[in-house]
Point group: C2
Chain length 327, copies 2
């Protein structure tokens, strides 16, 4: 099942069911108006949405319309939790090395996660506004899951069973603000402005065999100003799978329905696959040339993030954003 949230002028938008091929959509009213409402009452509402999804895919839905990603808010325009991990160790190693930071001793045994801002997400085609390019504007292409209720102390296997939906994320990061902010000891805040999510959120079955062991075994494609930047396998170097990330997040408290958990920047040991953020490319340049050669983003730059299934079709639709100067 594929779900999206259409802009309607309200804070939470309007829930729509989207066909598997992303060609058509249908308002879910009569079943639910908002995605959070569905997550709050998943077992009752999701079968009704699945029925509508089947009808829509069969071309039999009465009020179907052409699906337009530009009309989408983030599937959850605001959420009660956005827990972003950093599960790809090549990313952690390269980026920390580049900023001269130590690698945590527990890197391979204890997931890195941070609590992100979740009150104001960007839609997949919304402009990304920043006050200045001097802050080092960078994208981070990620996968993310939306959970149901997860009890405190859940095991990774139990946590995997709590995953309701998957999305793509663009976790905008202001690189030049990171070192000073992390040096204060309290983690990211100003260096992590509003995150964007893909047009649709999908149930795990939409990924078929590519969803396995809590990982998505497909390449995540990122392009920058129309040029391919990364085509990075999201499965092979994901050291901690989503069940492990969720279990880490609920070790001392429960997670409640609608919590979003991110993978961190998708990365591969195989540098030929490219990168999912500029910081990593700069780190590789440092290693090869002794200096970074790629500048961070400028106003007017565009970023596109997409993941295609084994059939070559877009699973989530594309995140396509333009960097703009904040009004």
């Amino acid at each position: 099942m594929k779900l999206a949230t259409y802009k309607d002028g309200s804070r939470d938008g309007q829930l729509v069911v989207v066909s598997r091929d992303l060609a058509t959509a249908h308002y879910a009213n009569g079943i639910a108006t908002r995605l959070q409402q569905v997550l709050d009452d998943w077992n009752f509402l999701s079968p009704q949405l699945e029925d509508l999804y089947t009808t829509l895919n069969q071309g039999k839905a009465r009020h179907a319309f052409a699906f337009d990603p530009a009309m989408c808010m983030a599937p959850l325009p605001r959420a009660y939790a956005w827990v972003d991990g950093s599960a790809y160790l090549p990313h952690v190693e390269r980026v920390r090395r580049a900023r001269g930071a130590d690698l945590p001793e527990s890197l391979r045994s204890d997931p890195l996660v941070y609590q992100g801002g979740s009150d104001d997400f960007l839609g997949p085609c919304d402009d990304a506004p920043f006050a200045s390019t001097e802050s080092g504007i960078d994208f981070e292409a990620e996968l993310a899951v939306v959970t149901g209720d997860v009890p405190m102390g859940a095991t990774p296997a139990q946590a995997l069973e709590c995953i309701r939906l998957l999305m793509l994320a663009n976790d905008w990061t202001l690189r030049e603000l990171v070192p000073a902010e992390l040096a204060k000891g309290f983690g990211f805040f100003q260096s992590k402005p509003a995150t964007a999510f893909s047009p649709v959120a999908v149930t795990p079955d939409e990924l078929g065999a590519a969803w396995s062991g809590g990982r998505v075994h497909l390449p995540l494609q990122t392009s920058w100003n129309g040029r391919p930047f990364g085509r990075v396998d999201a499965g092979s170097d994901m050291h901690f799978h989503f069940g492990q990330l969720i279990a880490h997040a609920c070790r001392t408290r429960q997670l409640r329905a609608g919590a979003i958990v991110g993978s961190g920047t998708v990365s591969s040991q195989d540098a030929a696959q490219g990168c999912s953020c500029v910081a990593e490319k700069r780190a590789l340049e440092m290693i090869e040339h002794g200096e970074p050669r790629t500048a961070y983003l400028q106003f007017g730059d565009t970023v596109r993030i997409e993941l295609k299934g084994q059939d070559g079709q877009s699973v989530f639709g594309a995140i396509e954003q333009t960097v703009v100067e904040a009004a």
Copy 2:
């Protein structure tokens, strides 16, 4: 105006208006059912709630009932943002010194804030569940504000105008998990389990002249197992006022209606006022005796946090929690 959220078995509870003396309450249905709904549409809904509040205070509300704090969830049982600051420098200095951490160079010019978990708050009289006492269970008595929409780049003065409500918070902290977690560089996560909030949230006018310059100039009273632990003036040593904390939080992104911003543990240079968390008392003992002498909390311990107005009456009702072993 004083607002609370009554338990009704749902995730968001039921909005009630509470009389100034906390003696009676009245369901707000007909106006709004949930506090977030009011914050989303404050200018339209809050005057209607104010009218009900006036009627209730006059003893003329038709369906008033006795107010029971034990029936309360947190005023916002879940929120889209919980941004906790650390605005009292005596707390920062004592606690960091005690764990051998450096003081940030920017301590006096750049507020410390972290993004807290906001999907699952505790009610004021809910038990606080923890897996083990070995994690160093500690309370932190704080003030918190709830904002309306705050644009990116708002000044401290503009940010002050966006404050809708004030509350008390008990920001439970697992002290023994803090050093290793902060050493990883991404800030608090497992060391900050679910936070509790006071029975009622109040509009700033309820504090009268004590609400001045973005600070609450009244003592915050904390007791532990029935014994007074702190009676700490919340105004004098709050280095960054709430407008400054909010402005810091919205420097690179907007904050949306219903965001909660916390003061951090209320603290005073005057040690005779006591403390608002055990970690600070231990830090003072280290300085005086060379070792901490007060153990962190045990299962069965109780904590009470309350703030009284200039008239001696409780403003927010009391947070009264018992530490219990997680099921």
